[in-house]
Each structure stands twice: as structure tokens, then as C-alpha cells.
């Protein structure tokens, strides 16, 4: 801030610079303060995710089995491609942001405006993509069954491929009406009923003798596992989920207590209950940052167009929102690794 002068401006201050500590303006330094604290917040979340994952390391869902959707490609398993696309969008919007900052240094108003506009578009595409990702995650694809003990059972065919509940569940003549507040005697309601009841899934399983159950447990080629007669050793692969024999599958399914379709904050069809919680919370918190970034970028964009920074003879404000925007990109790089790759 060139206009601000203090009494001791002639003296040498901490870390060099003239009257600015560390040679950075007040606004930029404060943005760095914010970024450091926000980075620690995200580190806390990701470390908590790591904690829960290490605690349930044997049963944690495998990411490339969960995120397999790509727009206009139904039924095709396309792990990773969509998040890769999202990552590109965010990196590219970072590039346009830094180009805007660069154009600001040269006081080229029109170029700054164009690059800011592209950055906003990139941010909106990213938030939209995340909404689509959430939609698929919440809707689910195959469905699963939860046992009385709280573990999750999924279904596979004789080749070990996943089978959706809709492909085998029987249709029984049973009526189960959703309890909604207007039907209750008091303030009563319940969660949305699954498409199939436990009885229908069990009947369907009985009618299809080639179906097997896949548990949450990740198979490790240990001595004890190799001797375990309840495991279907032909289909189960090292570092993949364990598939059971038909007799053991029937035994496990007898303990079923509810049908799980898709995901919410309580349970999800992918496995560990905490998995969906962390997914919603961390990607949601990051998505909220992106959304805030888009709003801030829009405000700055209008200021650029109105010539505010031209009058101020400095585009430093663009630089400051740029710092925030790059930080959001930086966080996504880590979220991407932690949720989709590792």
C-alpha cells in the first residue's frame, strides 16, 4: 500500500522491506496468515481421514470401485477419469488466474478481465462436476445388505463381477408404507425406504444359486487366509475384497438386518460408515471453498471491469484473490491423492 506511511518508515524493519514486514503488503501478508491456518484445518481433516482409515485398514472401501462413473457412459466402469477431468479444470483455472495476475502487473485491464472471466467459468464447471459426483455417490449403483453386527455384504456373480440388487431381488407381495409426518400420530417420520426389503433380497439370493457374497474385508495372502474354507479362493484376489463360498454366503445373509442403497451420513453401500462421512465432509468443505472463491472472483471481476484497480494504479487485489484461488487448487491436489489414488 503505497499510500500508507508510518512514523518509523525510515527505519529498517523486521525481515527487510521498507515499512512492510517481509516485503509483503498488509493485505498479502494477511492472506498468507489465512492460508496457513486454513491449510492446517484441511490437514486436520485429512489426518482424521487417515486415522479412521488406518483404524479400519482391513475393511476400508477401495476407491476405484466406488468412483467409476463418467457422463454419458452408463454401465461402463471408468474409474479415475472423471476426477482427472475435474483436476484438469481446476489446474487450468489456476493457470488463467495466474495469467490474470501477470496481466495485472502490466496494467492491461482487458486481459485481466478476460482471464478472470475464464477462471470463474473453470470454478463453476468444477463445482458442477462435484455436484454430479455427489449425486452418483448418494444414488449408489449396486446396493448392499447390512448385517445385525453392522458389517456390509455385497453381491457378485460366478465370475466375481458385482451384481445389483435390482438384477436378482424377488418381488414379494408385501406392503410397507413410508411413514411420513402427515401419517404419524405425532412428529414422526422415517428415512426413505429402500427399493427392496431384506426378505426380497434373501428370496432372490435363494433363487439364483450362482450368486455369492463379497465382504468388506480386503484379502491378504496370509497362511491363515489360505487355509480359510469359508473363502472362495478362485475368485478372491490379493488386495481385493474377500468373496465367500456359497454355503458361507447363505449363512452370512441369514443375519441381514437392512438393505442399503446409495449413501447418506449414517450408512453407505460402499463399506465403512465413516468413508461416506469423510467423503461428504472433506469434499464438501473443499467445494464450499471453491464456491466462495467463485463469488470472490466475481466481485473482483466486476471491480476490474469498472476500472477500480485502474484508478488505484495497482492490481494487487487480483493477486490476493489469486493466492486464495491457488490455495483451493492446492488443497484439491491433496484431496485427489488421498481419496482417489492412495
Amino acid at each position: 500500500m503505497e499510500t500508507v506511511t508510518t512514523a518509523n518508515s525510515a527505519e529498517k524493519t523486521w525481515g527487510g522491506g521498507d515499512n512492510q514486514p517481509m516485503g509483503a503488503s498488509y493485505g498479502k501478508l494477511m492472506m498468507w496468515f489465512f492460508i496457513v491456518s486454513d491449510a492446517l484445518t484441511f490437514s486436520g481433516f485429512l489426518a482424521a481421514y487417515g486415522f479412521s482409515r488406518f483404524k479400519f485398514i482391513e475393511t476400508w472401501p477401495l476407491a476405484d470401485e466406488v468412483f467409476t462413473h463418467f457422463p454419458f457412459m452408463h454401465g461402463v466402469s471408468a474409474p479415475m477419469y472423471y476426477v482427472a477431468f475435474m483436476t484438469f479444470i481446476l489446474i487450468f483455472s489456476s493457470v488463467t488466474m495466474v495469467l490474470a495476475v501477470d496481466a495485472g502487473h502490466q496494467m492491461k485491464k482487458d486481459k485481466v478481465a478476460i482471464y478472470m472471466f475464464l477462471t470463474i467459468i473453470g470454478g463453476l464447471i468444477f463445482v458442477g462436476s462435484q455436484a454430479w459426483e455427489w449425486k452418483n455417490f448418494i444414488k449408489g449403483e449396486y446396493g448392499a445388505v447390512e448385517t445385525k453386527g453392522g458389517s456390509l455384504l455385497q453381491f457378485v456373480d460366478a465370475e466375481g463381477h458385482r451384481v445389483a440388487l435390482a438384477d436378482f431381488a424377488a418381488t414379494l407381495q408385501e406392503e410397507r408404507e413410508q411413514l411420513t409426518p402427515n401419517k404419524g400420530r405425532w412428529f414422526m417420520s422415517e428415512a426413505t425406504l429402500p427399493t427392496y426389503s431384506v426378505a426380497e433380497v434373501e428370496a432372490g439370493f435363494k433363487a439364483h444359486p450362482d450368486l455369492l457374497i463379497r465382504t468388506e474385508v480386503i484379502y491378504e495372502e496370509t497362511e491363515a487366509d489360505a487355509k480359510n474354507v469359508t473363502i472362495n479362493h478362485e475368485l478372491t484376489k490379493h488386495k481385493h475384497k474377500t468373496i465367500l463360498t456359497r454355503e458361507e454366503s447363505e449363512k452370512r445373509l441369514a443375519q441381514a438386518s437392512m438393505v442399503v442403497e446409495g449413501a447418506n451420513l449414517t450408512r453407505n453401500e460402499y463399506g465403512s460408515k465413516l468413508f461416506a462421512d469423510f467423503f461428504f465432509f472433506i469434499t464438501g468443505f473443499h467445494g464450499f471453498h471453491v464456491f466462495s472463491g467463485v463469488i470472490i472472483n466475481i466481485i473482483i471481476f466486476f471491480n476490474v471491469i469498472l476500472g477500480t484497480y485502474e484508478k488505484r494504479k495497482s492490481y494487487e487485489m487480483v493477486e490476493k484473490v489469486g493466492l486464495y484461488w491457488h490455495f483451493v487448487d492446492l488443497v484439491w491436489v491433496f484431496v485427489f491423492t488421498v481419496f482417489y489414488l492412495v
Partner: protein, 116 residues
């Protein structure tokens, strides 16, 4: 702080190229999961995950140094942002992951079991 106001456009596109390349490599490895990396581990973490973590840190370096223009800041600002962050994050991860590993052991080996 680039007071000289020179254009860095070439550098920006180079960094974009590097970041894209790393992302593509990560995705390819994530889809193929080569067994030689996936099934061998070093310090309790398999080599594939080591690769992903190292590539992520390289990406983070380029974003902070080139895009956030950390390379142009004074050494004191650079150090006061980066050193505390790196130290605290490693500290937090070490504490939490060690504890989680211990709890996993308790569930697995003691009388409290998740066996239903």
C-alpha cells in the same frame, strides 16, 4: 513481489505442462496399478502409494512456488509459511496414524473383536 513487472507467461505455461503431465502419470498408475509397485512396500507403505505421495508433493511445490509466486517472496516470508506447515503436518500425521495403527491392533488381537 515482482516489482520489475516482467511477463512470466512462458514460465506459467511450462508449469501448467508439468502439472498436467504429473496428473496424467498419476491417473495412469492409478488405473493400471502395476503389481511390482502395488505389492511391494517400503516402511509399511506400498511403493505405488509412495509414488503418489511424492508426485503430489512435487505438484504442491509447483503450485506454491510458481503460481502463488512464493519464489519471488523474501526468504523470511517463505520460511515462516512453509516450515511451520511442514513440521505441523508431519507431526499430526505421525501422531494420528501411529495411534490408529495401535487401535487397529487392539481390535484385531485382543478380546474386543469385530467378528460378526
Amino acid at each position: 513481489m515482482s516489482h520489475e513487472h516482467v511477463s512470466n507467461t512462458k514460465r506459467i505455461w511450462t508449469v501448467f505442462g508439468i502439472l498436467s503431465l504429473i496428473t496424467i502419470v498419476e491417473v495412469i498408475f492409478g488405473i493400471i496399478k502395476p503389481e511390482s509397485l502395488h505389492l511391494n512396500s517400503f516402511l509399511g507403505l506400498n511403493l505405488l502409494n509412495w509414488l503418489f505421495i511424492i508426485l503430489t508433493l512435487v505438484k504442491a511445490y509447483y503450485i506454491v512456488y510458481a503460481f502463488m509466486h512464493m519464489e519471488g517472496e523474501t526468504a523470511s516470508l517463505r520460511n515462516s509459511v512453509i516450515i511451520p506447515l511442514i513440521f505441523l503436518v508431519i507431526f499430526l500425521l505421525f501422531i494420528l496414524l501411529t495411534e490408529a495403527h495401535y487401535i487397529f491392533g487392539v481390535f484385531k488381537d485382543s478380546t474386543i473383536k469385530w467378528n460378526f
